[in-house]
Amino acid sequence: MPDVKRCVITGLGLVCAIGNDADECFESALKGRSGIADVKCFDTSNCYSHKGAEVDIATGDLASGNYDRTTALGIKAAGEAIADSGLNMDSEEASEIGVILGSCIAGASAVEKYYQDKENGGKGSLEDLKAIPASVIAGNVADYYKAGGITANIVNACAAGTLSVALAIDLIRGGKGEIFLAGGCDAFASLPFAGFHALKALDANECSPFNHSEGITLGEGAGVLVVESYEHAVKRGAKIYCDVLGSGVSSDAYHITAPRPDGEGQMSVIRRAIENSGLTADDIEYVNAHGTGTAKNDEAEFLSLKTCFEGNGNVTASSTKSMTGHCLGAAGAIEAVLTVKAITEGKLPPTTGYTDEDIEALKEKAGSVHFIANKPIEKDIHYAMSNSFAFGGNNASIVFAKDPKAIKFNASKHDLYVTGIGTVTGEYSEDTGDYRANIDSDTFKAYGVKTAFLRKLDRLSQLQLLSGIRALEDAGITVNEDNENLIGICIGTGDGPMTEIANFQKGIIRDGVDKGSAFAFPNTVYNAAGGYLSIFTGIKGYNVTIANGSQSGLQSICAASGAILFGYEDIMLATGTDECTDIDDELYTDLGLKGKDGFKLGEGSVTCVIEKDDSAFTRGAKRYAKICGFSSARDTSGDRNDNRRLSESALTEALRKVLAEAGMKPEDISCIYGFGNGIGKIDDFEKEVYKKIFGDGIKIRLVKQDFGEARAASASLQFAMLARDIDEGRFESGIAVSYGTSALYSAVLLTKA
């Protein structure tokens, strides 16, 4: 990629416990003003910790009062970023603006309300039910502001906010958009509080990162950055804060909650981000550290920073979580905003809470890295980095610059192939009326998965692990020291680990916030499945989880293809996974989507191995099909208050773009694997659009009639079956198409290898 597009930050929005806008938050951070106080929004009297960093605005006063707290915080920060960037959302330019938001707990407040109502004998409100999945957040924010570009929800727990900005850069550089609102949002809720309380990971007092390190203090908030191509920003005369140069993403492949003590994954991500930004470690002058305040994080991070920046002599670091609390999926975004303010104003915020004695102790631990304690420092800096390390062993890092050097990318144009397929599908049961997968411990033992590992995994993670192992086996790939950093993972899921989330919440409603299950909590995060896959297989590369309705199973293939084309990895496992348990059954029945006039629910997981040409040729890999194009499109036509609306124009645009990328015409396409699920309105809509574009003779294959509505797993299955059909000579070429909330469509075009 010789001509890499410059990406710049042109707008900022922030809300958290230390302020209601970016300026107020930054001023508080410089003054060392902490937002941590006693928790107000639920009763913590039986808990050993009562501390939290809550935003002092009632949910009803945010975003017209019509959204759950996580989305409402996101809407608030996005609104500030839009205004700050001078974007006119009533003009044509709004139709191009995409939204990528990270979240860890998504609609956890809605989960609590929904099950509390049911516990009290009520029905649970439909509005709460619709707000539960992470899949709806970015679409709802985009719809609120009439932003018509593509959307994505990144759900890699505490690294989600950083990954969202990283994905925005990649999409812009990959030609998939010019401008994105990227960031993250999470609300203060009983679910994560009870979880971290159960793990004994909360500090009884205010958290003390890089100091006493006795645990975290949870916070809430949202950060949103306008990430834009330099050309686009200049053309519209936008104010430019700084460049965002590049990112790094890696997996620990170690433990579902704890970081590697040797800091290997953290160091890998720091080095990847620096390299992808065309810099060296000596260039970095400020690091906004992950700095949660747990002993395990802080020890590993001291080691990582000291090792990576050995010989730098000029680097400073701080953890602003000592003031904002740990805002989970919003944390990386909040810290990115504070880092942009730091680099542009030349004022670096401190970690707070040190006594004189603590500062002496800090000097011992810090080595040559200057950890900023209690008071800000004024320093004209050019390059700064923000790091996030999450549950599941997911690490992400981004680099900002005041005046960028020429960015060097080692990536050049490559063909991509499907070189492995692993599937787990459901079988219909008259008892449940669903398609459920028939898996047990013997299924896993056949692949060497021991009971001790398997028992930790929830249903979603088990489905994902099985298809992942099968795909690697099918591709003939053994993960070893030589390739572990050249393989990455991109998980797509519509509903995530909904069973674990619901059961954990029901447990604390029944037994109290102080009685959460330490065993169950790690599986309530959407990226646990990707984490376990990396831990079992030893894959240490890129790792992202996208939750965006059914089309997540295709959006994962688009993101995975991007990760290879940008030179991050040679091989990506792109997946679609969704579970069907009694909980999923209950939720879809309550939504009115399952049963009579609805669909039959399914579950499963499909993992496809996407591989770069030279890697596939060198290995002599079997090639099922060649990926000739991938696209996503969305718009705001129709009723924006209905996030389940259909859009002919957006579906048509996704197909137009994928054909254009492949350099093909509608008449070149022999088959479409569609998303029809048995709901008449959706099926008729889809057929009509295809007939208009491809003519009456186009063959349409629907997988859901045989395997149920398995959401992201269905979308991935469409792709996998098309690849097999092409390999076996049934079709020359075809397109897999799927849809998500807020009229988002994705399409991937395959031809003969």
Binding site: T451, A452, F519, P522
Partner: protein
């Protein structure tokens, strides 16, 4: 060994930690390779035992967590009737 207590502990381990019942004997090494419990599981055991018997395991040694037998002995010794 009090079989009633041991059976309750086994049931709790099976339910809370998803250990297959047919692979769990009273003398199985809980933190050994086969069952493979870790620090998060030990937190869960502390809560489970407290809920079942009102016994606080925070003063227990690593050896007390070795198996269902040793946990049963600890509960028997510290249970208030």
């Amino acid at each position: 060994m009090n079989n009633e207590i041991a059976e309750k502990i086994k049931g709790m381990l099976v339910e809370r930690l998803r250990i297959p019942a047919d692979e769990l004997e009273y003398d199985s090494e809980l933190f050994g390779e086969d069952i493979g419990l870790d620090s998060i599981d030990s937190i869960e055991i502390v809560v489970g035992i407290e809920n079942l018997f009102g016994v606080d395991l925070s003063g227990a040694s690593k050896e007390d967590f070795r198996s269902i037998e040793t946990l049963t002995a600890y509960v028997e010794a510290h249970k208030e009737d």
